[in-house]
Symmetry: C2
Subunit: 364 residues, 2 copies
Amino acid sequence: MESVIRVNLEQMSYDIAIAPGSLEKLGELITPLQLGQKVLIVSNPEIFHHYGQRVITSVEKTGFEVACCTLPAGEPHKTLETLQKVYDLALEHRLERSATMIALGGGIVGDMTGFAASTWLRGINVVQVPTTLLAMVDASIGGKTGVNHPQGKNLIGAFHQPRKVIIDPLVLKTLPEREFRAGMAEVIKYGVIWDGELFTHLEQAQRLDQMQFIEPSLLQEILQRSCQSKAEVVSKDEKELGLRAILNYGHTIGHAVESLTGYTTVLHGEAVGIGMVAASRIAVKLGLWGEDCDRRQLALIEKAGLPTKLPTGLNIDDILTSLLTDKKVKNKKVRFILPTEIGVVTITDQVSSEVIREVLQGMF
Amino acid sequence: MESVIRVNLEQMSYDIAIAPGSLEKLGELITPLQLGQKVLIVSNPEIFHHYGQRVITSVEKTGFEVACCTLPAGEPHKTLETLQKVYDLALEHRLERSATMIALGGGIVGDMTGFAASTWLRGINVVQVPTTLLAMVDASIGGKTGVNHPQGKNLIGAFHQPRKVIIDPLVLKTLPEREFRAGMAEVIKYGVIWDGELFTHLEQAQRLDQMQFIEPSLLQEILQRSCQSKAEVVSKDEKELGLRAILNYGHTIGHAVESLTGYTTVLHGEAVGIGMVAASRIAVKLGLWGEDCDRRQLALIEKAGLPTKLPTGLNIDDILTSLLTDKKVKNKKVRFILPTEIGVVTITDQVSSEVIREVLQGMF
Ligand SMILES: NC(=O)c1ccc[n+]([C@@H]2O[C@H](COP(=O)([O-])OP(=O)(O)OC[C@H]3O[C@@H](n4cnc5c(N)ncnc54)[C@H](O)[C@@H]3O)[C@@H](O)[C@H]2O)c1
Ligand SMILES: NC(=O)c1ccc[n+]([C@@H]2O[C@H](COP(=O)([O-])OP(=O)(O)OC[C@H]3O[C@@H](n4cnc5c(N)ncnc54)[C@H](O)[C@@H]3O)[C@@H](O)[C@H]2O)c1
Ligand SMILES: [Zn+2]
Ligand SMILES: [Zn+2]
C-alpha cells in the first residue's frame, strides 16, 4: 500500500509519499533528493521518544550526519524564542546551505522547523515527517511555516516548500485519540470543499472517531485523497492569492473560537469542526445549499466524535469582534468560505452580522 | 538630476530611483505602487531625528496612515530580539497584508526591516530608503534581509525584494565621514568586478574620501553605476545560486577580518577594502592579473581614505581558520572572487593556504 502525490510548483515541486512503515525507510526515501550530508532532526520530547531512534538509524544508515533538537510541546512554545534553540543547533552542527532539517512531529514542530529552515542562511532544505493526522493532511503540505506572536497565531512566518513529505500512517497508533479526531475535521473539510467522493466514502465508513476502527485501506485512501486535495489547491495558488482561501473553510469562525478560548480548551481541528457547522448553517440561511447537505455534514462531524456546539461561556459579541481582527480580514469585511454542494465552495464577504449572530445563537 | 534603474525579476521587478530631494517626494514616489493604506516607518533614533519628520509629512500628505518604530543602532542590536519591537508595532498598528514597511536607514535598519516585512503575515511590502552610501549601492538592493545569530552575522534571514528603492543623495551630508568612505569600498568593488568605466571615472576624481569634495554630478553617476551593477548581477541570479557570488569580491577575507575584530573596530566597508587588497594580491600571485592593475586598485582604495593594511594584532592562523567557518564555504574549500581585468572577475576555490598566508603576511 503506497501512494505518491505530486505537489506541482515548478522548480519547487515535491512528492508526498504515503506508506505504512516509511519511517524505517526515511533515509532511502530522501537520498534521491541530493541533499547535503548534514541533517538536523527537529521534534518534541514525546514524539522523539517514540520515533526518534528509528529515524536516526534510518538516516544514518544512508550516510547522513545527524544531529537532533527537541522543542517543548504546545502552542505557547511556538515562538521566536523557541526557534533560537533550532538556530543554536544549526550553528553548532554547522548546517551549510545544502543541509536539511527534518520536521518529525505535528503541525507545531512542522511549522517551526519549516520556518527555521526557511530563515537559516536564508533557506535550507526541509523534509516534513508529520506525525499527527492534521499535520499529515494539512500542515505539512503547502509550505506555510511560522510561529506565533504573543498576541496572535502564526503572525510571523514564511512560505517555504518542503523537499518531500513522508507520511507513515502507523505513527498514528500512538497519537492521542482526541488529536486523531481533530485531524479528521480537516479530512471532512476536503470532502466538502474539493473531493465529493472522499465525502461519500467517509459517509460509508462504520466509524471515524478512532484510528483502530478504521481499515488500513480506508485510512490510506483518506490520507491520499486529503493530501491530493491540498496538493491540487496549493499547486494552483502557491502564495495564497486566491483559490487557496477555500482551505480556510470552517476556519473563519473556527479561529475566533480558538482565540477566544485561549488556544487551550479547544483543539484547532475541533474549532474547525464547529466552524464548518456554522458555515454550513450560514450557507443554508443564504440559500446557497440545502438542509440535507447541512445534515449530512453534521452527521459526518458527529461520526468523527467532534463537538458541533459552541463551547459554553462564549459570548457572541466577542466572536463577532474577533472575526474582524482576523489577519485575513480585508477592508474590514469578514470573508466566508461557504459550501454550495458537496465538493464545491464559494467565497463571499457578503454575510451580514445578523445572519452570523442568528446561526451562532442556534449553536449553544 | 534623476536616474531610475530597473531591477528585473519578473513579477518581483522594481525601480531604484535616485534623485536629490527625493525624501520630500517619498509619498508621491510610492503612490503608483498601489500599496495598502498602512505604513510603518522603521529607523533608528539618530536617522529618525534627521529625516523622520520629512518622511512622515510626505507620506501622510499622500494619504497613508503612518506609524513609526525606531530600533537601537549598531550591529549588536541586529537580532531577533530587536525585531520583536517591529512585530509589536506591526500588530499594534494592525498592518494587513497590503501594508508597507519603510526602511529609513543604513544597512542594519534595511536588513532588519526587510526581514520583518518578509515574515510579517508571511510577507508584506517593503520600501527601502537607504541613508548610508553602503546601503544605497548595496544593502538596499537585491532582497537579502536578515539578522545576526549571537555567533555569526546574517545567519538568520530571507530573500525579500523591496517594492522600490528610493535614494536621496542629500542625506549623505549628515553621514559620518568614516561611514561614507566605508561605502566607497563597495563602489570601488563594482568598478573592479563589473563596470570598468566606473573604475576609470573614479580614477579621474580629485578626491573620494569625503562627500563634500565630490561633485554632485559625479556622486549621482557613482550611485547610478553602482546600483546599475548590483541590479544587473541580481537580475541574473536572484537567489545567489551562481553569478551573484561575485558581489562577494573582497568579502572573503573581509568577513574574516570583521569577525576576528568583533565587528566593532573595523567597519564592513573598511574590511572589504582590506579584502580587495588581499584578493588582488592573490590574483597577482596566481598570474590572473598584473601588478599594474593591483597598483591601480590600491591607489583608488587609498584615495577613498580606506585602510589597506590588516589591523595590528590579527593572527594569520586565526584568519585562515575563520575563512573555513564562513557560511559560504562549500565542502571545506574557501571560495575566492579574483579579478582578471578591471571590470571582470573569476571565481575559484583553488587558492592554497600558502598563497593566502604569504599575501596576508605582506599586509601588516
Ligand atoms: N502550516 C500549515 O499549513 C498549517 C495548517 C494547519 C495547522 N497548522 C498548525 O499546526 C499546529 C497544530 O498541529 P497539530 O494539530 O499537529 O498539533 P501538535 O503539533 O501540537 O501535536 C499535537 C500533540 O500530539 C502529540 N503527538 C504528535 N504526534 C504524535 C504521535 N504520533 N504519537 C504521540 N503523540 C503525538 C504532540 O506531542 C502534541 O502534544 C498549529 O500550530 C497550527 O497553527 C499549520
Ligand atoms: N542586504 C544586503 O545585501 C547587505 C549588503 C551589505 C551590507 N549589509 C548589512 O548592512 C549593515 C551595514 O550597513 P551600514 O554600513 O549602512 O551601517 P549602519 O546601518 O549601521 O549605519 C551606519 C551608521 O550611520 C548612521 N547613519 C546612517 N545614515 C545616516 C545619515 N544619513 N546621517 C547620519 N547618520 C547616519 C547610523 O545610525 C549608523 O550609526 C550590516 O549589518 C551588513 O550586514 C547588507
Ligand atoms: Zn486547519
Ligand atoms: Zn559588502
